[in-house]
Symmetry: C2
Subunit: 342 residues, 2 copies
Amino acid sequence: MAVTIRDVAQAAGTSPTTVSRVINNQCYSISQETIDRVRRAVRELNYHPNARARSFARQSTRTVLWLGSFCQGAAFENPHMFEILSGAESILSRKGYRLMVQNADTTSVNAMVEEAYASQEVDGLLIHASAVSRPLSAMLTRTHFPHVVLGKPDFESQMCWIDVNNVLSGDIAAGHLLEEGYRRIAFIGGKESDRISSHRLDGVRQALAAASRPLEEQFIWLGESTPQEGSRMAQGLFAMADRPDAVICANNSLALGCVEALEKMGLRIPRDVAVMTFDNYPYAYMMTPPLTVVDIDVYDMGVQAGRTLLQMIGKKNQQVQTYTTTSNLIVRASTHRERRST
Amino acid sequence: MAVTIRDVAQAAGTSPTTVSRVINNQCYSISQETIDRVRRAVRELNYHPNARARSFARQSTRTVLWLGSFCQGAAFENPHMFEILSGAESILSRKGYRLMVQNADTTSVNAMVEEAYASQEVDGLLIHASAVSRPLSAMLTRTHFPHVVLGKPDFESQMCWIDVNNVLSGDIAAGHLLEEGYRRIAFIGGKESDRISSHRLDGVRQALAAASRPLEEQFIWLGESTPQEGSRMAQGLFAMADRPDAVICANNSLALGCVEALEKMGLRIPRDVAVMTFDNYPYAYMMTPPLTVVDIDVYDMGVQAGRTLLQMIGKKNQQVQTYTTTSNLIVRASTHRERRST
DNA sequence: TTGAAAGCGCTAACAT
DNA sequence: ATGTTAGCGCTTTCAA
C-alpha cells in the first residue's frame, strides 16, 4: 500500500490535520518544531499526497481542459495552436495546475463542455477559436464557467477571449518599410473573408495614411492564400507601369509564391523590391533572402490566456475581451537595402 | 447543488448501487424495467457522474500524462511531436481516457514521473524520446508503471518504446527511384550522430544493394541539417565528373537547400535530376516542383502508442519494443520524368 | 435482482 | 497550536 497522510501523522506523532496543514503551507498557527517533524516524516516515508483524494476532498481538480483541433495533420497545418498551447502549459504548470487536451470542433464542442462542466472534471477551459460555437457561447455565459477563448470568435459574444493584434502587426510592417525608405508599398493578401489578412491590411492602411502616403488601391491584391496565387498576384503587380518598391504579403504561403515570381521576373530582393510578411515560420528564414517578418508571439498569448484563466478560477466575476499586443519586428535581408541577398 | 447519484436513485425509486451499475453498464443482473427507469431519471435530471468522486472511488483517473517538449518554438520546430500527440489523443479519447500534457526534458522528467506515479494522478505515461533519461528508465523498469516511449531511446533499456521505421523509409525511397529508372542515386544527409538520417541512409543502402547497384561512397554527403549545408553539398555533388541522376535528401531542410542549388546550377528537376526527401511537411509540396516524399505517418504512431499503453494499463505485464511500419510514398513532380515542373 | 454499508484519503469546520 | 469529526460522491463487497 502507498503511504497515506495517516502514516505520516503517526510517524510525526501528530494528527492528519496538522500534516495536511503543513503540506498545504497553511502554517500560520503551527509551531516550527511540529512543522519540522512533519517535513522530516514526509521525506523519510517519501510521502506524496494522493491526487485523487485531494481533488475529491477539495472539490477541485486544479486542471484545465484545452479544446482545439488535434486532427490528423493539425500539427503541420496549424503550428500556431500548438505554440499557444505550449505557452498556456508553462504558466499552468508553474501555478500547480494540470492541462488536459481534447480534440474538438464547432459541432462536438458543446457536448464536451457540457460534460466537463457537469462532471466537475476541470476547473476551467481554454478553447481555441476554431472550436467555438454560438450555443457554446450561450452556455458559458449562462453558467459563468471560467474560460478563455484563444483568438477572437467570429461572432459577437460575451465570452472571454484573447487574441493577437493583427492590425498592430500590419501597422508595424508598414512603418518599418517607410523607415527603410520605401515609398510605393503594395499588399498581397488573402480573400476578404480571411480575417487575419484583413486586419493586417487595415493596419497597413492605417500606418500609411498616418504618414500621408495612403495605400493605393491598385497596389492591393487579394486572393487565395496559396503560393500559386501569391505568385500570380505578384506577377500582376509587377506587370503594372508604376511598379511598387515594396510588398507586404499577408502570410508565408503568399510570400513564398511572391518571392518565386519576383525571382523569375529578374527582380532582386531587396535591391529592386522589398518583401516582408508575418509570423516567423521556418519558411521565412529559410528562404533566400531570409524575409523580414512581423512576428506575433503566440506563445506569450498562451501564457497570458493561462494567467487570465487562473484569475477567473480564483474570483469568478471577471470578464476579459482583449487583444494582446506582442508583435515583434524581425528585420532580415529582404527589406534592408544595405545588405545583399546571399 | 449538482445532481448526485442519490438524486437519481430517489427519482428512479431505487438505490445508488443500482444506478451505479446502470451508468457503468454492469447490467447483467438488472431487470430491463429498472434499467429504463434509471436511464430516464438520468436523462430527466441531466445527471453527469462526478468525475472527481469516481476517480477517487475506483482508484483510477483514466488519465494519461504526456511528457515532452512544450517550450517556446517547439510547435514550429518539432511539429512531429504534436502530430504524434494528436494521434494519441484520438485513441485515448475514444476509449474514455483523458490526456494531460506537461513540458519535460531529460533533467526535469524524473521528478515529474516520480510525482505522477506516487500521487497516483495518472494511469499511464506517454513520454517523448527527447525527454527520457537513464534514471527514468530504471525507475519505470523497477515500478512496472505503464508507459510507452515515443521514439527509440538512444540507449539500451527495458522501457517500452514505439518508433517509426526510418530504415524502411529509406528503402522505399530508393526503391521508388529505381523503379522510375534512375540509376545514379546520391544521398545528402545529416551528420552521423543524426540517427534519423543515418537510418534512412541505411535503408537506401539496403535497397540499392538488393538491386545490385550499391550506393557509391562518393555519392554520400553528410553535414549539418540546414538549407545552407544542403546547398553546399548539392554543389559539391554536382561538381563531380560523374554526376548522379537522383538525390535523396535526408530531410526537408537539406532538400530545400539542395533544390535551390540545383536551380542555380541550371539543372532542371526532374528532367536532369530527381530529388526526393522524407516527411510531408508543407515545404515539400509548396516548393516548385513539389517534392516526392516518403511520408511517415506519425499520427498513426501516436494512435498505436496510445492503444499499446491502454493494453498495458489493462494487464500490466506486457512489454513492447517495436517499430511501426507505416511509411507512405507520395509521388510528386520531382521524381516523375513524364511530368514537368510548373 | 437489488440494497446496505463500508470504504477510497484527504480537507476543513469546529472544538479545545 | 493542535486534534476531532464529518463529510466529499462514488464503487464494490457482501448479504438478502
